[in-house]
Symmetry: C2
Subunit: 277 residues, 2 copies
């Protein structure tokens, strides 16, 4: 009995209220009502420090500690972020993965607005429409940061940006550029008032080379990527100035949406960086 008791003893350091709050952030409803989200893992949280997007609080598990994790904890400590040690059991209760990396952090959802300040800095925008797979959405955000996109917008039928799987597959890129959900009407206004050209990925479009030849170097661009099966929604496709497709063998109906979007972003990036030389 004594032995059993000892095994069952765990260091419980979270209050029930705090645990309940953190667990509610595993759901979309919880994230939207609290305007907070969780990000997990050493690599992801190293990016939050690099981009100075600091969390409200960090939870970490001493039992899972290693040198890299300790370094990260020290960095958060220097930045005066509150740090709370928790047990492995507690970590598993607030994590959406089975094999966590011993650290999880609570962030405020940034209250970006599509205002002049955000827009006037943006020359290249990626629009995620209809992208329901969280892995694809996160990967597209990662490629966006890699290929010099200034701003990522999502429509209401795309996966929610602060879904833990989106956060994870962005590999921290979401800390490096503004990502915000918009209404379709905002897009129409953006195109008209701010003079953006809309480039839409579409299986019936022109080839990459042909499509990009219509662009001028100074053009402000919105690249719209839709779902693999259904493509872009009709209202977004209607806004398109140029439709673009990636030539490939007919053996495959379409490319993965994250792959297709990333290839087009890479072509746009090449074009601009080569032009500068």
């Amino acid at each position: 009995l004594n032995f059993e008791n000892r095994k069952a003893r765990v260091i419980v350091t979270l209050s029930l209220i705090e645990k309940k709050k953190l667990r509610s952030l595993l759901t979309k409803k919880g994230r939207e009502s609290r305007r907070e989200f969780l990000a997990e893992g050493v690599r992801l949280l190293e990016e939050s420090i690099r981009w100075h997007r600091l969390p409200r609080k960090v939870y970490y598990c001493r039992a899972r500690s290693n040198e890299r994790l300790e370094t990260l904890i020290n960095q958060f400590d220097k930045e005066a972020v509150p740090i709370q040690p928790i047990s492995t059991i507690e970590l598993n209760q607030i994590s959406d993965t089975l094999a966590g990396q011993g650290i999880i952090a609570l962030f405020d959802i940034p209250q970006h607005n599509l205002d002049k300040a955000v827009i006037s800095d943006a020359k290249m925008i990626l629009l995620l429409d209809n992208i329901s797979d969280p892995g694809n959405a996160g990967t597209l955000i990662r490629s966006a940061l890699a290929f010099g996109i200034d701003l990522v917008l999502t429509t209401s039928n795309a996966v929610e940006i602060y879904n833990p799987k989106v956060v994870r597959s962005s590999a921290g890129a979401m800390f490096g550029l503004p990502v915000l959900a918009i209404e379709p009407t905002a897009l129409v206004r953006l195109k008209k008032e701010e003079n953006f050209r809309v480039l839409a990925a579409d299986l019936r479009g022109e080839t990459v080379d042909a499509a990009l030849s219509h662009l001028k170097e100074k053009d402000n661009l919105i690249l719209a990527i839709g779902a693999e099966a259904s493509g872009l929604t009709a209202s977004i496709l209607k806004l398109a100035d140029i439709r673009i497709r990636i030539p490939h063998e007919k053996a495959v109906e379409s490319l993965n949406a994250a792959v297709a979007g990333s290839i087009i972003m890479k072509e746009l990036y090449n074009r601009r960086t080569v032009d500068k030389r």
Copy 2:
């Protein structure tokens, strides 16, 4: 009590032995010992018909039926594939997804060998090394078929090809080209005896344009893609004739492995198809 009984009554049409067998295929151990795997969903199984890679047996759920599913069932029937109706509960028991599409099929794992017949047809090979994420592995197989790769090889430290998540994210592409696991020694032999050049994706490599300029049109190629964090294993990297990287902003440490591999495949494909014009 009567009402309860009626609710509990389901059409059980699978024998316990068959159900146990199918459930064992949800594990790597089960797939490897039985040399069988499951593929699920309408779109995926339409591809199996298109590529004439027919299953041993099809299980489907009448309650989930629709026109597209009925058409598919009729096609399997014409091809003399045994068709077994099962209940929704049974379908959920043998599926690895929560929201199945009403159809699942049992396939033999093809017994490819790296023999002369497979090799002599292959000019372009994709090698997946260290790729542990099943979504990335499946996406790379899909891009491989799209960009004219003839053969996909995987090393023993990559995810197993018949993992349901790999099958699903390949979107049926795995029915369209041979995919097989090999030993590292086989790769050394392949390079020497069959005169392949090895192109390795590596963050310290040359840019895409520079790397591809070293290639001749007639070259037989092996493109090796490794994991994002750790890269290629040392033994594979040692075999590389050319190391290749995709230029991008320093804001991001690396691209997603499926994105990086697909971009390089697309560049190789462009080069060959443009050369043909």
